[in-house]
Symmetry: C2
């Protein structure tokens, strides 16, 4: 399984991903699910991947090859970010169709989906969830983030913290907390954890951090969050049991 | 969908359930999923249900009828809680088999599963997850709780708080917080919220509380938790961006 998330807020884009892959519980692997494309002038793109690893690697390889070989449509040529998302979706669909024929072994599933975001020149930065079918959605200002994979464990904290006006550091920290909660409750999500922070319309290069499991900051977050969450719980008004309020009626 | 949870700790048993049922997104209903059986001398049982509503109602009706009609096997006669769980499982299986034949309309699923717990006389109190197949598992001392339905959103707080030595009030409060987080992130889980607190080997009657959506304590919990969680997050050590640590290497 996988857990990836990304947010598109006023200040820019933040991407967070785990690195655990598995084909059966006894075939765990470590593969980066974060793919940055920065070799195109004035353009920034990042792709997060979930699903079939062969499909995601093939999509990433084609994206890179199309730029390198000067293809007519590539991340170096698309005019708008929606066009880029559409192009990613069509590559994805092409590869899924190539391998997912009717003779497929039962249980074989070549499908993959992606979070894809970036900025082209002075156009607004944007973010899309690109589905296996090739179509895509963008998040809204009310819920300005997207998730892939094991998304439920870490969802409540995102719902409470991430807003359009949140700082990039806040969004990234919230993503790490969400990731930590998910890893704690689900063994199929695991380190290293990658974070990409892109400040919109800025000349500063994007920041890419790879946190190994025992990275001091990741450990600090984990320990502080455990303590703070415990205190948040202990500070709740205690449950007062209603005196003699026993309503064991047959329903 | 449904979200129910129950814990079996040293002090006793706690059950928490939502009340939203749905057969399609436009057919929402409100049905209690908590069924207490207290009309048997020296015995206490509570059943939480998830899945097909007709099946769960049939199981509950048969359980009550068997007691009322003095059946040879009933909640009034079983000697051990495992036997009671087995009996619940066999009723469940019987009903699922009755309605789930091969001619079933596509998409029709009569299956249901249950959390079932209680205490018989001086025997230890216990808790089981009873599956549609009729078999069952009990929780462990390391993770002394069970969940049904939409369990992922509210899982992390249970993992952090509930332990064997937790007080019943702490467990019930944690269950309410877990329920609140789930309702916030998932529209298929909804009020009223029911809580049952059973102190093991006690002559005091169990406490059953039904919280409507606007119940003052539920609102207090919701608001306090939002504030406390925000503070827990704000008190984390801020993300420090490594100076010039830009590692955008092609992978």
């Amino acid at each position: 399984m996988t857990y990836c998330l990304a947010a598109c807020v006023d200040a820019g884009l933040v991407f967070v991903s785990d690195s655990r892959t598995n084909a059966g519980i006894d075939r765990l692997g470590v593969h980066s699910k974060m793919h940055a494309f920065t070799d195109t002038e004035g353009r920034f793109f990042t792709l997060l991947s979930a699903g079939n690893l062969a499909t995601t690697q093939a999509v990433v390889a084609e994206l890179r090859r199309d730029v390198r070989e000067g293809a007519r449509t590539s991340l170096a040529t698309v005019g708008r970010l929606r066009d880029a998302a559409d192009y990613v979706g069509s590559l994805n669909r092409k590869i899924v169709e190539k391998y997912g024929n009717d003779d497929s072994e039962e249980g074989f599933n070549p499908s993959a989906d992606f979070i894809f975001g970036g900025q082209i020149g002075d156009n607004p930065h944007a973010l899309f969830h690109v589905y296996a079918q090739g179509n895509y959605i963008s998040p809204t200002a009310l819920v300005p983030f997207l998730q892939l994979g094991e998304q439920k464990y870490g969802r409540p904290i995102l719902d409470r913290i991430i807003q359009m006006r949140s700082s990039l550091a806040t969004v990234a920290l919230c993503g790490l907390v969400s990731m930590d909660s998910t890893m704690r409750s689900n063994a199929s999500v695991g380190p290293p954890i990658e974070v990409m922070i892109y400040r919109a319309s800025s000349s500063a290069p994007p920041v890419h951090i790879v946190y190994a499991e025992d990275h001091p900051y990741l450990r600090t977050i984990r320990e502080s969050w455990a303590v703070n969450l415990r205190r948040a719980f202990d500070d709740l008004p205690p449950l007062s049991l209603p005196e003699g309020d026993v309503r064991l009626v047959e329903k």
